[in-house]
C-alpha cells in the first residue's frame, strides 16, 4: 500500500489550502464563539429556573457547560466535507478529473477531510479552547482515563459521521439536485446526536428509539464519557456499538458505491 504517500500528500495539500484561507478561519471562529457563548448562557438560565425537570438532576451545571464547550469543539474539528465535495464535483462535472487519478475516490475525499481536521485542530480548536477557558474556565475531563476514552471514542464518532456524509453525497449520482437531503441529514444529526441538547432531556420514547440509531453515538457518547457521566466500562460497551455502526455503515457505503459507479454521469464537456 504505497499509495499511502499519495493520500498523505493529499492531507498535506488540504492543510496548505486551509492556510490560504486564514481570513475565513477567523470569521468562522467568531461564529463559533458566539454559538458557544449563547449555548452556555441558555444552560445557565435553564439551570437557574426549573424548566429542565428531572433531566437537570443527571448532570450539574458545570458538567453541562463542559459538555457544551467540548461539543462545539467537536463540531468545529469534525470535517465531513465529502458530502458537498461529491455533490459539487458531480454537478460541475469535475468528478471526471478525480476519476483520472489511479486512487480510490472515497480515499481521496477522506484524505482531504483528514487534512481539514488537522488544520481545524490547529487553526480553530486551540484558539477556541483558549477563548472558552478565559470565559468559562478550562473544560476539564473527569479523569485522565475519561480523556483517553473520549479521544478513542471520538475517532469512531468521526467515522460514523463521515460514512453517513459520504452516503448522502453519493445520492448525487442519481439525483443531480441534492441540496436539501443533506440539510435533513444534518438536522437529524444536530438533534438526535445530543450535540446541542443531550438526549436525557428528551421524552422517554425518543430516547428508546435513538438507542437503535447511530446518531447518539456520534456526540453524546464521547461527551458523556468526557464529563464522567458514563463509566469506563459503559464507555467501552458504547465503543463496541460504535464499531458495529462503523462496520454496518461501511458495508452499506461500499454497496452504494458499486451501484453509484455505474450511474456516473459527467455533466458538460
Amino acid at each position: 500500500m504505497s499509495d499511502m504517500r499519495a493520500y498523505g500528500y493529499l492531507i498535506k495539500m488540504r492543510v496548505l489550502t486551509a492556510l490560504a484561507y486564514r481570513f475565513d478561519v477567523w470569521i468562522g471562529m467568531i461564529g463559533d464563539i458566539i454559538l458557544l457563548a449563547a449555548s452556555v448562557f441558555i444552560w445557565k438560565a435553564a439551570y437557574g429556573g426549573d424548566a429542565l425537570g428531572s433531566g437537570a438532576s443527571i448532570v450539574g451545571l458545570d458538567g453541562m457547560i463542559t459538555y457544551t464547550v467540548v461539543s462545539v469543539l467537536m463540531t468545529t474539528v469534525f470535517s465531513t466535507g465529502v458530502q458537498n465535495t461529491i455533490y459539487n464535483q458531480v454537478r460541475e462535472g469535475n468528478i471526471a478529473l478525480d476519476f483520472m487519478r489511479p486512487l480510490n475516490l472515497l480515499g481521496i475525499y477522506f484524505s482531504e477531510d483528514l487534512g481539514s481536521m488537522v488544520s481545524a485542530l490547529v487553526n480553530k480548536a486551540i484558539p477556541l479552547v483558549i477563548m472558552a477557558s478565559l470565559l468559562f474556565g478550562f473544560p476539564m475531563p473527569d479523569s485522565p482515563t475519561a480523556a483517553a476514552l473520549f479521544v478513542a471514542s471520538c475517532v469512531l464518532s468521526f467515522m460514523i459521521l463521515w460514512l453517513m456524509s459520504a452516503m448522502v453525497g453519493l445520492v448525487a449520482f442519481w439525483v443531480a439536485e441534492l441540496g436539501n437531503l443533506g440539510m435533513v441529514k444534518d438536522a437529524f444529526i444536530r438533534v438526535l446526536s445530543g450535540s446541542m441538547v443531550p438526549l436525557w432531556f428528551f421524552p422517554e420514547g425518543l430516547q428508546r428509539i435513538s438507542e437503535w440509531l447511530p446518531f447518539q453515538y456520534t456526540y453524546q457518547l464521547p461527551l458523556s464519557v468526557y464529563i464522567g457521566m458514563t463509566t469506563p466500562l459503559d464507555a467501552l460497551r458504547g465503543m463496541g456499538i460504535q464499531l458495529i455502526w462503523v462496520a454496518l455503515l461501511g458495508v452499506l457505503l461500499a454497496w452504494i458505491w458499486t451501484r453509484a459507479r455505474g450511474k456516473v454521469m459527467v455533466q458538460g464537456g
Binding site: S2, D3, R5, A6, G8, Y9, L10, M13, L16, T17, A20, Y21, G93, N94, I95, A96, L97, F99, M100, R101, P102, L103, R261, G262, V264, M265, V266, G268, G269
Partner: protein, 326 residues
C-alpha cells in the same frame, strides 16, 4: 495489437424531459417523462501506437462521451473497449496509470496552491523516483516553459499558462496514451503554437499516442496523421486529412490575371467558374490534370500577367462532411 480497440460502442443517456407549468411539474415528479438519447451509437475503430489521431465532429457528436468511456469514467451501455489491452471501466486504476488526460474546459491543478504542488502530488501518486521526476520536469520545462510560474498559485495563472501547467501535469508520469479534449480552446496563436509543438515533440521523442478532440482545424492540419470524423455518435469518415478533403473537395482553382481584356477560352479538363474584369477562375480536378500542365496549355492561348493556385478549403470540406451526414 492496437493500443486502443473500440468495438460497437454504445452509450445511452436517460434524459428527463421537463415541461412547463405547475401541473406538469407535479405530474413529472410522479411519472417522469423519460427519453433515451444515444450519445454514442455503435462506434468501432482501432488506434495504433505512435499515431496522432484527430477525433473531430460537430457539437454534440459524441466526442467527449467517447473520451470519457475510453478513460474509464463512464460505463458503456454496450460494446467493448480495450486500452493498452485492458478494459478501462473494469480496471480503471491500471488503465489510468498509463494515460494522460487533459480536458480543456477543466483543470486538474489545485486552484489555491502553487503549480508545483500538483506535480509533487502526482509524483507520489505515480511513485516516480526523485531522479526521474526531476529529469521529466526539466524536459517539460524545455518545451512548455513552466519554470516561470511553477511557484505561482494556480488561480493567478493566465489561461495559456494554466493550460501549459495542465499539459505538464498530464505528462509527468510518462503516459503511453495522451487524451486531449479541446486543448487549444480559448488560447491565442502563440500559446496554440507552443502546445502543438509540445504534442509533436512528445509524439516524436516518446512515441506517444495522442487522441485529440478539437474544433480548430489548424490543430488537425498541423498535427494529425489520421482523422476520425464522428457525427450523431457514429464514425462517418476515417483516414488522413488530405484524402478526406481530396475525396470531398477534389477541385482546385487556378486564378489567372490577364494583361489585356480578352475572351478566355474553354479548356477540355478545366472549367471556367467565374470571370470578373481581368480575372478568370478555372476549376480543375487534380486527378485529371496537374496545375503545371494546365498553366502550360493556357499560357499559349492567353496573355497572363499573374496567376495563383488555390487548394480546396479544409473548413469547407469538413463542413460538407458534417452537412451530408447530419
Amino acid at each position: 495489437m492496437a493500443i486502443i480497440e473500440v468495438k460497437d460502442l454504445v452509450k445511452e443517456f436517460v434524459v428527463v424531459r421537463k415541461k412547463t407549468g405547475l401541473g406538469n411539474a407535479i405530474r413529472s415528479l410522479v411519472l417522469p417523462d423519460k427519453k433515451i438519447v444515444r450519445g454514442v451509437d455503435g462506434l468501432s475503430f482501432n488506434i495504433e501506437q505512435g499515431d496522432i489521431v484527430g477525433y473531430i465532429g460537430p457539437n454534440g457528436a459524441g466526442k467527449s462521451t467517447t473520451i470519457k468511456m475510453l478513460t474509464g469514467i463512464l460505463y458503456p451501455t454496450a460494446g467493448s473497449i480495450r486500452v493498452c489491452g485492458l478494459s478501462p471501466h473494469k480496471e480503471r486504476k491500471a488503465v489510468v496509470r498509463q494515460l494522460g488526460v487533459v480536458f480543456g474546459q477543466r483543470t486538474q491543478l489545485y486552484w489555491d496552491l502553487r503549480l508545483g504542488e500538483t506535480f509533487e502530488l502526482l509524483k507520489r501518486i505515480y511513485k516516480i523516483e526523485d531522479k526521474r521526476f526531476k529529469a521529466t520536469l526539466d524536459m517539460l520545462n524545455d518545451v512548455l516553459r513552466i519554470q516561470d510560474f511553477i511557484d505561482t498559485p494556480v488561480r493567478q495563472l493566465s489561461l495559456g499558462q494554466r493550460m501549459r501547467g495542465d499539459l505538464a501535469a498530464s505528462m509527468i508520469h510518462d503516459p503511453t496514451v495522451l487524451f486531449l479534449d479541446e486543448p487549444t480552446i480559448g488560447l491565442d496563436a502563440d500559446a496554440k503554437h507552443a502546445i502543438r509543438g509540445f504534442i509533436q515533440t512528445m509524439n516524436r521523442e516518446r512515441r506517444m499516442t495522442v487522441v485529440l478532440t478539437t474544433h480548430d482545424l489548424d490543430d488537425v492540419e498541423q498535427l494529425c496523421s489520421r482523422l476520425l470524423v464522428v457525427n450523431h455518435g457514429r464514425i462517418v469518415e476515417d483516414g488522413p486529412l488530405d484524402s478526406i478533403v481530396g475525396k470531398l473537395a477534389p477541385h482546385r482553382l487556378l486564378v489567372i490575371e490577364l494583361s489585356e481584356d480578352v475572351q478566355a477560352p474553354e479548356h477540355a479538363r478545366a472549367k471556367i467558374v467565374r470571370q470578373d474584369g481581368l480575372k478568370v477562375w478555372y476549376q480543375f480536378d487534380k486527378a485529371a490534370i496537374s496545375a503545371s500542365e494546365l498553366i502550360a496549355d493556357l499560357s499559349g492561348m492567353l496573355p497572363i500577367r499573374d496567376l495563383s493556385v488555390q487548394e480546396p478549403d479544409i473548413e469547407d470540406a469538413i463542413r460538407e462532411v458534417y452537412r451530408t451526414t447530419g
